[in-house]
């Protein structure tokens, strides 16, 4: 480290034994730093391996002529039916893509206003004591495993929603969407609240000092200043909603139909993988198609997360510059 200092140099070479010990120590130090570097590399390796191996199993859909007779990009768009098990399997992606979109839209319509409003309340209006009680409540929600939310939506909430709306199908997109919204609410709330709290106090004081009311300050000063962070929270929630599996698998009814109504049952990309992968033959066309759905999920969520990361970076720079 500091081998540039000539005054210290000679001290190290007093005796032979000491210099050997020193050499061993230097060697050990560099070995340890290499090992730690390898540990850090597992993060990179993990992400790369996920990409490589999920893509690899999906590749026959694009490359293997034998598999392509049954399932290829053409098959994905030529039919509106998803019927992978049957004499003539049909791999139309429309119901899955449409279903995912529908459930995710319901979830976001439920979770975004609720999560952002609660974050504004917690950071701007709540007394410190109330805030200390609100945050653990959201942490409890975040700690509920998604399979438990799925269970609750399936066993309890579906009946309540059916009672209120009079829907004919008990497990429908509305039920799954609200349950999914509950699942992503903590993400949206926590990231938004952190961003709002990171807005420097002088911003608020200046606005209040100019005569703006607390609400005007929150709406036209704090919220815009934290805008990038709130957007990041919403995007992170969106990515989670697209990829979340157990909630939609249990609460949506899983019927692969093309429909615009939230009162119809719905099947998502993630739920199709979860429901079908256990029964499929290894290496079959169906197996590759399910991995292809995984690729779609991976690429979509990855892209959303990268954009969210850019928003977080922008917020940090902006607040640092302020």
């Amino acid at each position: 480290m500091s081998n540039a200092n000539p005054a210290i140099g000679p001290l190290r070479h007093e005796g032979h034994g000491r210099s050997t010990r020193r050499r061993i120590q230097v060697w050990r130090e560099s070995l340890i730093s290499v090992l730690l570097r390898l540990c850090a590399f597992t993060g990179v390796a993990g992400l790369l391996l996920i990409m490589i191996f999920v893509f690899r199993e999906a590749l026959p859909v694009l490359m293997n002529p034998e598999i392509q007779k049954e399932a290829s990009l053409r098959h994905f768009t030529s039919t509106l039916m998803w019927q992978p098990v049957g004499a003539v399997p049909k791999y139309g992606l429309a119901p899955l893509l449409g279903g995912t979109l529908k459930v995710v839209l319901v979830a976001m319509a439920f979770a975004v206003p609720l999560g952002v409003a609660a974050a504004v309340f917690t950071s701007e209006f709540a007394s410190p004591r109330l805030r200390e009680n609100l945050k653990p409540a959201v942490e409890i929600l975040a700690g509920i495993p998604s399979v438990v939310l799925g269970f609750f939506a399936l066993m309890v909430m579906a009946s309540w929603i059916q009672m209120v709306t009079g829907a004919t199908v008990r497990l429908n997109a509305l039920n799954a969407g609200i349950a999914l919204g509950l699942g992503v609410l903590p993400t949206i709330f926590t990231v938004s609240e952190d961003a709002l709290r990171a807005v420097p106090k002088p911003f608020r004081e200046a606005s209040l000092g100019l005569g703006a009311s607390p609400w005007q300050t929150a709406w036209s000063v704090t919220l815009p200043a934290a805008g990038a962070g709130v957007s990041a929270g919403i995007l992170l929630g969106l990515a989670r909603a697209v990829g979340e599996t157990m909630i939609v698998l249990m609460a949506s009814g899983n019927a692969a139909i093309v429909s615009g109504s939230v009162f119809d049952s719905v099947r998502t990309l993630s739920a199709s993988i979860a429901a079908e992968l256990a029964e499929v033959v290894f290496g079959s066309a169906h197996y590759s198609v399910l991995f292809f759905l995984g690729v779609i999920l991976f690429v979509t969520t990855f892209a959303i997360n990268v954009v969210a990361g850019m928003f977080v970076g922008r917020l940090r720079r902006r607040l640092a510059g302020a």
Partner: protein, 314 residues
């Protein structure tokens, strides 16, 4: 400043006061949103506690499922969950903490490698859990497992779903949690102590080993507990990599399949032929799973707040 500028600025004040009727109402609306979230949490927890607590007896916790899972207990699922998360933690902690030490102590923050690691860890945290399941099947079971079998000339021993592969899949899923919390923990150690150790002639690693790690231990423990709590609740990554629908025996080696609480909840609530008969067992299982994750989360939150208090007290 001229008098004109003052005058043109003045009228805004009274106008702002007069029209601000919607303000308090809208502020109240945000309060209602916060209240609604709390209410939903209370309803969910209350419902599960109310219908679940009668089922959770000693017999329920210690017995195996009977009569097509409509009677008996959930001991194999508890055992499987504990085995799974322990194996996961053993695989996860050295790598996670090692990576955090590297990032905090060794890495040049602007180097491309450091940025690649941070980028990967951030995005790893956003990969859907079902994709981890696909990855576990495609990489650990089909590639690594089958590879070992072929190399050793074995029949299918490694290349099938098992406790080991499920634990490794979960370990990768939780790697970001551990790295982030461990790095935060390292940051709480006062810089002076580090410098004092180095000034006394300790090497870099000796400083880390004797000064940094002992002090960062509560934070590292927090990360481990959070990972365990998340690991105990995740179902999608283990569905294809090791969890079993029902097993008449307990797993005795890492290469066995296992039952797991979260997966058991899924199985009982979707695959049961007699949903009314299964209901008490189902609620009981959910309650046990919730209590388990909450006790873990609570411990982690307490440890973390103690650590943050120390950081703030500096």
């Amino acid at each position: 400043m001229t008098t004109q500028a003052w005058e043109s600025g003045l009228p805004a004040l009274p106008r702002g006061r007069k029209t601000d009727v919607a303000g308090p109402a809208l502020s109240g609306l945000t309060g209602f949103a916060a209240f609604l979230i709390v209410a939903m949490v209370v309803v969910i927890m209350g419902n599960i506690a109310w219908f679940g607590w009668r089922t959770v007896t000693w017999e329920f916790l210690s017995a195996a499922p009977r009569e097509g899972m409509t009677a008996g207990g959930i001991f194999p699922a508890i055992f499987g969950t504990v085995a799974l998360v322990l194996l996961m933690v053993v695989a996860l902690i050295p790598f996670g903490v090692g990576a955090a030490i590297y990032l905090y102590e060794y890495a040049r923050q602007d180097a491309w490698f450091t940025r690649a690691v941070r980028f990967s860890v951030n995005n790893l945290a956003g990969v859907p859990s079902i994709v981890f399941g696909l990855f576990g099947l495609g990489f650990f079971i089909q590639f690594v497992g089958r590879g070992i079998d072929r190399g050793l000339g074995l029949d299918v021993v490694w290349g099938q779903p098992s406790l080991l592969w499920a634990a490794l899949t979960l370990a990768l899923l939780n790697l970001p949690v551990v790295i982030v919390t461990a790095e935060e923990a390292l940051r709480t150690v006062p810089r002076e102590q580090r410098e004092a150790a180095l000034a006394l002639g300790a090497t870099h690693w000796q400083t880390i080993r004797r000064v940094l790690l002992p002090q960062a231990m509560p934070g590292i423990l927090t990360g481990a507990i959070l990972a365990v709590s998340r690991g105990a609740g995740e179902v999608a990554p283990i569905m294809f990599t090791g969890a079993a629908y029902f097993l008449p025996y307990l797993p005795t080696s890492p290469l066995d399949q296992f039952m797991e609480l979260g997966y058991h909840v899924f199985v009982l609530s979707t695959q049961s032929p007699d949903i009314e008969g299964t209901k008490p067992l189902l609620y009981g299982t959910v309650l046990v799973l919730l209590l388990l994750t909450f006790l873990l989360n609570l411990t982690a939150i307490l440890l973390r707040s103690r650590m943050r208090a120390r950081l703030a007290g500096r």
